[in-house]
Amino acid sequence: MAGLAVSTTINGDSVEYLCQPDETLLDVLRDRLGLTGAKEGCGTGDCGACSIILDGRLVCSCLVLGAEAEGRRVETIEGMADGDVLHPLQQKFIEHAALQCGICTPGFLIAAKDLLARNPDPTEEEIRFGLAGNLCRCTGYDKIVRAVQDAASVMRAA
């Protein structure tokens, strides 16, 4: 089957692809476009490992069809660093050792970026609530919260 032709924008670049009607955007990103930063944890919208930003909204790409991206704007973890310069959130996740296996990390970074874009100075409770759609099974959440707090203060000073 040829599939559906989709034209979209991913991390600022125009992208065209063919996909099957029941194929998720997560599968398109990973298997057709080689953007393997977004991970499939649960595939049912519970774990947040596949988080992306779609037209300015944080969503799980496992709950979006590839066909739905037509004419829309997709932001993934691959667009977060500016060339070799890491985003402050990425830098602080490293400094605070806010990851172990790393599977959940791209989703946490995207969700944290969305959180700070809406609320540059969140309380600890707001961070924990805002990131509650992202599950981590090894680091635990304290180091992640500290990294986000630190990155937020760096970004506010910039």
């Binding site: 559906l4 919208g45 947040g48 799980c60 709950l63 066909a67 739905e68």
Partner: protein, 286 residues
């Protein structure tokens, strides 16, 4: 399977009525895609309604608010006027899932998914919300409680699509609230829930009331007796006690791992009374 994204409601209805197989309407997809993945539904055709004009908007009209079927719940929470007029409806809508799910899920989808535990539905029923349904024979407007008929089942005929959820304009001294019980603090499915909507007179006495319970029967329960108990009162303890009993008695819950029948009955009364107190305070009652 085919995927279609019509630009008009007429086209959407035509696509559905002309299709011989199973059709699924796609708004936010936070239920549909999970059910497809689990193999619970295998549609031959998906009709994505998000590109239909007007369905992604909240409009404030002379009659109140019209919420398009494709408006994500996150947008409800960001709409200051809606939040001010219908705080109970908005807090219920914003309890559905994580931030990621909020960016996709819709109240029209929550209604049409017809889960007995849907969070926004008891709040909408308490609010007296209506559903504007488009179909092959034209539009019809029905109370939202007429849509779900049982777990996963609706009264919608083939080709019918809920296009808008309608909320009335608020009189002064009105307030609503929604509460649910879940075993953890966030992001779970209601074991019991209650929505209450009240209007008061200048002296703080209740002039109209609607109380709805979720997750305690195959569909949302509008507790008609509750209005009679609350109207005329100022929510004194004896009234709240009667309200709690009426709500417990109105439950027809199941026994499952998430809650026993006795527990659900008891908690329904407790939540109804707490939600009534919250709605009363929001309406300016003291």
């Amino acid at each position: 399977m085919r995927y279609l994204r019509p630009l008009s409601m007429e086209d959407a209805i035509g696509m559905i009525t002309n299709s011989a197989g199973t059709v699924a309407v796609l708004a936010g997809g936070s239920d549909l895609l999970v059910r497809m993945k689990g193999g619970f539904v295998e549609p031959d055709l998906i009709v994505d309604i998000k590109a239909i004009e007007g369905l992604s908007e909240i409009r404030e009209t002379a009659e109140g608010f019209s919420i398009g079927a494709a408006v994500p719940c996150a947008v409800l929470g960001e709409h200051a006027a809606l939040r001010k007029a219908w705080p109970g409806v908005v807090e219920a809508a914003n309890l559905i899932g994580s931030k990621q799910v909020q960016g996709r899920c819709t109240i029209a989808g929550n209604l049409c998914n017809a889960s007995p535990a849907a969070d926004s539905v008891p709040a909408l029923v308490a609010a007296g919300a209506k559903a504007l349904v488009a179909g092959p024979k034209g539009n019809r407007t029905v109370p939202v409680e007429a849509i779900p008929t049982g777990p996963g089942k609706t009264s919608l005929a083939k080709g019918e699509i809920v296009r808008e959820i309608l909320l009335e304009k608020r009189p002064p001294r009105a307030g609503d609230a929604y509460l649910r019980f879940i075993p953890r603090t966030e992001m779970d499915i209601a074991v019991v829930s209650a929505g209450v909507n009240l209007t008061l007179d200048a002296k703080g006495a209740v002039t109209s009331a609607r109380v709805a319970l979720g997750a305690v029967a195959p569909t949302v329960v509008l507790v008609e007796e509750a209005a009679g108990i609350l109207v005329g009162s100022r929510l004194d303890d004896a009234t709240l006690e009667k309200l709690a009993k009426a709500c417990s008695d109105a439950c027809r819950p199941i026994d499952d791992k998430r809650g026993t029948i006795a527990f659900r009955r008891k908690v329904a009364g407790v939540l109804a009374r707490r939600a009534a107190a919250a709605a009363y305070a929001r309406a300016g009652g003291k």
